[in-house]
């Protein structure tokens, strides 16, 4: 059931100043309470109850991630906020930075305290100039009030928040690449282990949280973390709270909205997005950023086994399954960033795949041969089919290349390229074959629907 909430978005229409944040949504009350009345351990235990699954794509529980941070005898700890927002189809974090920057600053204060860090860096992609300006503005306002600095709210626990900028590289959204970039290096992902909690920024224990993950923390502590979790339709499976959902592509009203976790894709398309352009039928969706494999409009859930976690939806269309970290994994894709890209019937799936393979080819950092060569080869081979020069064997070759990237790379960019490629090949086999045999040509190929 669709439940609109406005914990994060209430101030979107009221203004981004500290004054509005304090007057209308009890801003900084949660941070004050946490710093003045709770121990660090209590904060982490409480945070676990919120069941905040990381909003950056992988869905790791935030409270558990915080609990990995152990005080180090000599090294400081860092909180690093991921605001690289580069995943194609993702447009939610930007709205928070522009319209509710204080929720981020307040979240950073609570996060720093919880993990024992005195400094938080917010890594923002360079292109988002307005976002950076609003964040710096919020930081200045919070510092002037004494909420940041040596003694926030009078507590002897210094907190500073800084904005750091990237310089145009999708891969810097990957957390270890982001850390290298923060240190002033090329944004190449690191081998794990060590994980950031052991050796992250500047070789010190570090937590990397997505920007929305940290922005939702004040609301969770205001409500009480268990109450916050219970807002979600998926609270019972550990996927709690509220999230920003985006809808883009072929819908009448693309937008970002805040909802209790667990709406269905059909609800997002028809109740939030106003339906499909020209009232066309749905072809497929990319559920949460281009690295999440697509779902076709005619897919149904097959879970006859009563013990299956998906049994409740057995026989139902995938577009009617609540969007959750585990539910999406169980239907063969990923929740990702909760921004859904909609494609109406008439969209050419081969051209859509070509567009995305060009993206991955352009963005591979080049460290691993399977990813560097594979992403280029995928791009070239789809282009060849699209140009009418391909054969049936090229379709098998594409699957082969993708399969050889999977599991053979330093970072998850490899899977993020291969999985959606395999999804297109499997779910639009007929269209690929039509290109190979000449039954379909690029002369008719469209990505827009009029």
């Amino acid at each position: 059931m669709l439940a609109r909430t406005d914990y994060l978005t209430k101030v979107y229409s009221l203004g981004h100043s500290l004054d509005v944040y304090e007057r209308h949504v009890q801003g900084y009350q949660a941070a004050r309470k946490v710093l003045l009345t709770m121990t660090r351990e209590q904060v982490v235990e409480e945070a676990k109850k919120a069941n905040i699954r990381g909003r950056g794509g992988a869905g790791f529980p935030m409270g558990i991630k915080w609990s990995f941070m152990r005080p180090h005898p000599t090294k400081p700890a860092y909180l690093v906020i991921n605001a690289d927002e580069g995943e194609p189809g993702t447009h939610k974090d930007r709205t928070l930075m522009e319209l509710n920057p204080h929720s981020i600053v307040e979240g950073c204060i609570i996060g720093c305290y919880a993990i024992g860090a005195n400094v938080a860096y917010i890594y923002v992609r360079d292109e988002l100039h307005l976002s950076k300006e609003r964040l710096w503005g919020a930081i200045r306002e919070a510092r002037a009030k004494g909420y940041l600095g040596k003694t926030p709210f009078g507590k002897n626990f210094p907190v500073e928040v800084y904005v750091h900028t990237g310089a145009g590289a999708y891969i810097c959204g990957e957390e270890t690449s982001l850390l290298n970039s923060l240190e002033g290096r090329r944004g190449e992902p690191r081998l794990k282990p060590p994980f950031p909690a052991q050796a992250g920024a500047f070789g010190c224990p570090t937590t990397v949280n997505n920007l929305e993950t940290i922005a939702t923390v004040p609301a969770a502590f205001m409500l009480g973390c268990e109450n916050y979790s219970k807002l979600s339709a998926l609270h019972h499976i550990g996927d709690g709270g509220v999230r920003l959902y985006g809808i883009n592509g072929h819908v009448k009203k693309p937008c970002v909205v805040e909802l209790a976790c667990g709406p269905t894709i059909n609800e997002l398309i028809y109740d939030i997005g106003g339906g499909i352009l020209g009232d066309k039928p749905l072809l497929c969706v990319i559920p949460g950023g281009s690295s999440t494999p697509l779902l076709r409009a005619d897919e149904v859930v097959n879970a006859p086994d009563e013990k299956s976690p998906m049994h409740a939806w057995h026989g139902k269309n995938v577009m009617d399954v609540p969007l959750g970290v585990d539910t999406m994994r169980n239907v063969g894709t990923m929740l990702g960033t909760c921004c859904v890209t909609v494609m109406a019937e008439g969209t050419d799936p081969v051209l859509a795949m070509l567009n995305l393979m060009q993206f991955y080819h352009h963005e591979s950092c080049g460290q691993c041969t399977p990813c560097r060569e594979g992403s280029a080869w995928l791009d070239r081979t789809v282009q060849k089919l699209y140009d009418g020069n391909g054969t049936i064997e090229d379709i098998d070759l594409l699957a082969d290349i993708a399969n050889n990237i999977m599991g053979n790379t330093i970072c998850a960019f490899g899977e993020g390229t291969a999985m959606p490629a395999l999804g297109f090949l499997k779910k639009f086999k007929r269209e690929f074959e039509e290109y190979a045999t000449g039954a379909r040509t690029k002369a008719q190929a469209r990505l827009t629907v009029d």
Binding site: P76, E85, G86, E87, P88, G89, T90, H91, D93, R94, Y121, R125, D126, E127, L128, H129, L130, E160, Y162, H164, T165, G166, A167, G168, A169, Y170, S181, L182, E183, G184, R185, R186, G187, E188, F202, G246, I247, N248, G249, H250, P254, C255, V256, I286, S290, C339, T341, V342, M343, T347, A352, N355, L356, F359, H362, E363, C365, L447, T448
Partner: protein
């Protein structure tokens, strides 16, 4: 004449240096400051940044070549970036690119003869909900229509 930051940017650099435990961490922010002033990152700037931050010039050069936003050669007075990635393409980005090429009389990647505009494509700029879109210098233009594109480009040509 050797490259040097303007006094205002020099002050900003001093502020930046207070934020990190290492000088190297200022590499990207300092390169941005230099490029803002000079339009592109010349060899001289690479040397300057290396010297300022006590890092090898090869390190700075490695950073410059990794990130798409650092210009390794001179560019036009204005930068036009049209997002070409799928969500924008579903709402007409390819048409936007074609219109820009026609109006400016150049292909993607080139600069107009008068040196005013460099046209490039960008990968997803986090505006998929307001597509199609383009970035002009530091500003986003969203929900583009042919009329708005025409007006934006005319303004740049007349600048």
């Amino acid at each position: 004449m050797a490259f040097a930051l303007s006094p205002e940017r020099e002050r900003e650099l001093q502020d930046i240096l207070t934020r990190y435990p290492t000088r190297m961490a200022a590499t990207i922010p300092l390169l941005h400051l230099c490029q803002d002033q000079n339009g592109w990152v010349s060899e001289e700037i690479v040397q300057y940044v290396a010297h300022k931050l006590d890092v090898p010039p090869a390190h700075v050069q490695g950073v410059v070549t990794f990130y798409t936003l650092f210009n390794q050669k001179p560019v036009g007075k204005h930068q036009v970036w049209v997002c070409r990635t799928l969500p924008c393409a579903l709402r007409g980005a390819y048409g936007v690119i074609a219109q820009c090429e026609k109006k400016l009389g150049i292909h993607v990647g080139a600069t107009t003869k008068d040196g005013k505009v460099t046209l490039r494509t960008a990968e997803c700029l986090a505006s998929c909900g307001t597509a199609p879109m383009m970035q002009v210098d530091k500003e986003y233009h969203e929900n583009l229509t042919p009329e708005r594109i025409d007006a934006i480009l005319t303004k740049l040509q007349e600048s």
